[in-house]
């Protein structure tokens, strides 16, 4: 039985944590939240230099060639730091898309730049409020030209490259669009979590190229979302752990009625429940990591389980973080709302837990047939 990360992997995680503790205190997150900056560029550069961006990109394409288990742990630390960088968009989604579906030429052209951070990528699926599905894709791609509007696109202002779902005669396909090209307009759109900015991308006969088979786009998108769900679960787990630790320390140091707040049973039991939720999420996430790293047939079910459990844990931890801080918890000055916003933003990023619950049981059901 070897259902845990190795010592080497944990050592890597420790170096990531140490780096982020030094270079990404919560003030860095707050700075992006309170400004118009699309991300923290110095941190992004650091992440690139340490090989995090190319963690699963092969060395021949300029990556670090670690593997997905290592990337899970990096994601956990990025989540823990609420690092305001386009990590999930560029690493879990755009890079994975190129790795999974890119032609040799595309891989050679893009992967080194994605690994070095020179190029930031994102995935643009949503066009309107509601569940994103094959049917909701209305953007069109024909004869090398992309037309349509995508909103919200996470990190859309930071990215130079977008993987876009669009209709082609063969069905929905994924295409690669250079966001600096003619025919592309982008505008920031107010984001619930300002440290995780969103944008509207409008394409008007913009140049783009197919990524993967024509008409294979939706299957590919689903596969990408599953893979990202595992990584995002680790990011959520990291944020949840941090929120919990801060909350626990606060309730230990805050006194009321002559006692630490943490000595009141209502608070103690709440903390115990949050801890339980995080442990359950961690265990489900580990299973997802196993399935992701080996590309196991269990991945679709494991990814959904990890995603649901992590979303539940982080939302609980963040809501209770605000509540258990009392008055200061709902001030702009304290950091609780950074977690509160991030929890909801990550919970929605790949579709809500409601949507993943539905997928999970459909998949379990399909398995049993």
């Amino acid at each position: 039985m070897n259902f845990d990360f190795s010592e080497d992997q944990k050592l890597l995680q420790k170096t990531v944590r140490d780096y982020l503790e030094e270079h990404s205190p919560l003030a860095v997150c707050r700075d992006v939240l309170e400004s118009d900056k699309p991300y923290a560029p110095d941190l992004w550069k650091g992440a690139a230099e340490l090989g995090w961006l190319g963690a699963v990109i092969p060395e021949e394409h300029g990556g670090a060639g670690f593997g997905h288990l290592e990337l899970c742990l990096i994601a956990e630390e990025v989540g823990r730091a609420l690092a305001p960088i386009p990590f999930s968009s560029s690493v879990y989604l755009a890079s994975e898309a190129v790795l999974r579906a890119g032609s040799e030429t595309q891989q050679q052209a893009l992967l080194p730049k994605l690994a070095s951070g020179e190029r930031i990528g994102t995935l643009a699926l949503a066009e309107k409020p509601g569940i994103v599905s094959e049917a909701s894709v209305q953007a069109r791609f024909e004869n090398g030209a992309l037309t349509g509007t995508k909103v919200p696109v996470p990190d859309g202002m930071a990215a130079g490259l977008a993987v876009v779902a669009a209709r082609t005669p063969e069905g929905v396909s994924l295409v690669l669009a250079d966001l600096s090209a003619d025919g592309v307009k982008r505008e920031p759109v107010d984001s619930f979590d300002g440290a995780r900015p969103q944008a509207t991308l409008s394409f008007e006969n913009a140049p783009a190229e197919l990524l993967g088979g024509a008409g294979q786009g939706w299957a590919l998108a689903e596969a990408l979302l599953d893979r990202a769900a595992v990584l995002m679960a680790f990011e959520q787990l990291g944020a949840a752990e941090r929120a919990f630790e801060i909350t626990k320390e606060f309730t230990l140091g805050r006194y009321a009625f002559g006692r630490p707040v943490a000595s009141f049973q209502a608070i103690k039991h709440r903390l115990a429940d949050i801890w339980v939720a995080i442990e359950l999420a961690r265990s489900n996430a580990y299973y997802g990591a196993w399935a992701l790293s080996g590309d196991e047939p269990e991945l679709p079910v494991a990814a959904a389980g990890a995603r649901i459990s992590a979303t539940d844990a982080l939302e609980l931890a963040a809501v209770e973080m605000v509540q258990l801080h009392g008055g200061v918890g709902f001030t702009w000055e304290y950091d609780c709302h950074l977690f509160y916003r991030r929890a909801k933003a990550l919970g929605l990023a790949l579709g809500s837990a409601r949507e993943w619950r539905d997928k999970l049981v459909r998949r379990l059901d399909a398995q049993s047939k």
């Binding site: 949503a126 759109v189 107010d190 984001s191 608070i267 509540q323 009392g326 919970g347």
Partner: protein, 414 residues
């Protein structure tokens, strides 16, 4: 069983409605929930509020239950409720007198001398002066009696030093009511006294607090050698806790519960029609229906509890503990609805208030709810109140009651 007024109530309602419709403008019944939640006021809100209060006072509608000699109407509690229901149909300015009318005024009326009452009450009624209430402190929130701001006697004055927090309208108030520690050598509840302070006096600094929804209704207030005349003391030295209880009882009765979800529920039905799941309106999704039904019965449960309480009032009884319950249920409901409204928008739920659907009602709800779940008694304190005052369960084991306040632990031993 019906929802009708008694003949007397109907007559009063009619009179109130007639006056209001002649003097005010009806609200849009389809107004989006957003406005209610954001707590953002327009320019000139003070002038507008003062003018409206003056208008009401001139026609004796300003303070329904207060004695006529101080400018009130001398009416009963049910009339006050009816007035509130009718006034809610009208567009009204920012509630800058709510603390004065809801909390400070009743306390002065209950504990003030005749001179204090004639000095303060009429100008409160007429909207000439704005009041605030300064109870909470950074280290004394739920444990209000643990407050540390001190008042030391010096001749005919008291000299005040310390800090208060969560003071609504402190930045525009003329007067404030507050509790101060006048003796740290006796057990905590025994060393407190209650004062009225002039908010324009030197030695007071007010700093606004920005909330997570960017609203700025609350302030921090700092005292540096503020001098307060002993004539501004309400009730005896050392009797401040009893006076404070009067203020708090009035606070709980006036906060009420679940503000804004009425509109929000209509917004939710609309949203569930607009969004699609599997190519059909979200309302046709069985899981969406389960969730909406849960919200509905919670909201209606609170609303009908209010009607039961009004019935008791109408029959001459006292309002019960329903205000605590309404706030406990309503604030969490607001948070749950906000979260759900964002969830069913999927990825687009992550758009911020300024750009989101339905004027960002859902995002606004999620950001406003934490304050509601904490201010004026946290969920946990409300459960304590229900458990101890309604259900008469034993109080918490207390280690801070029988020792001198200065010996009560206030932080980890170093």
């Amino acid at each position: 069983m019906d929802f009708n007024d008694t003949p007397e109530e109907a007559a009063f309602r009619n009179e109130a409605r007639t006056w209001l419709e002649a003097n005010g403008e009806l609200r849009d019944p389809d107004e989006n929930a957003m406005g209610v939640l954001s707590e953002r006021y327009g320019e000139n809100y003070i002038e507008q509020a003062k003018a409206w209060q003056k208008k009401k006072a001139d026609a004796r509608w300003a303070c329904i239950t207060w004695p006529e000699e101080y400018g009130g109407r001398g009416g009963n509690a049910m009339q006050s409720v009816i007035w509130g229901q009718e006034e809610a149909r009208i567009k009204t300015p920012a509630p800058i007198f709510s603390i004065g009318l809801g909390m400070a005024g009743p306390t002065v009326l209950a504990h003030g001398t005749e001179q204090q009452k004639t000095q303060w009450i009429p100008k409160l009624v007429s909207g000439e002066e704005i009041w605030c209430q300064l109870f909470s402190e950074p280290a004394a929130g739920s444990d209000l009696a643990g407050l540390r701001t001190t008042a030391v006697r010096d001749g005919d004055d008291w000299v005040v030093n310390g800090q208060k927090i969560w003071t609504t309208f402190a930045h525009i108030a003329d007067w404030g009511v507050l509790v101060l520690r006048t003796d740290p050598n006796v057990p905590k509840h025994a060393g407190l006294s209650y004062f009225v302070i002039d908010m324009h006096a030197p030695g007071i600094e007010v700093r606004p607090i920005v909330q997570i929804n960017r609203a700025t209704g609350f302030n921090e207030v700092f005292f540096n050698d503020l001098r307060v005349p002993d004539a501004n003391r309400l009730d005896a030295v050392g009797n401040g806790w009893a006076v404070a209880i009067t203020t708090l009882m009035n606070e709980r009765a006036s906060i009420g519960g679940g503000g804004g979800q009425g509109n929000l529920f209509a917004d939710l039905m609309q949203l569930s029609h607009e969004l699609e799941i599997d190519g059909r309106p979200a309302i046709e999704d069985s899981a969406v229906r389960q969730q909406i039904a849960d919200f509905y019965v919670r909201r209606k449960g609170v609303e009908y509890t209010g009607l039961r309480s009004l019935t008791a009032l109408s029959r001459g009884g006292m309002p019960g503990p329903e205000a605590s319950m309404a706030k406990l249920v309503g604030a969490k409901l607001l948070q749950d609805m906000g979260s759900f409204g964002m969830d069913i928008q999927a990825q687009a739920g992550a758009i911020g208030v300024e750009a989101a659907l339905q004027q960002g009602s859902w995002q606004e709800a999620l950001l406003a709810a934490p304050g509601l779940r904490i201010a004026g008694g946290t969920d946990e304190i409300l459960r304590n109140i229900i458990a101890e005052r309604v259900l008469r369960l034993p109080p918490e084991t207390r280690l801070d009651k029988d020792v001198a306040f200065r010996d009560v632990p206030s932080g980890p031993a170093s």
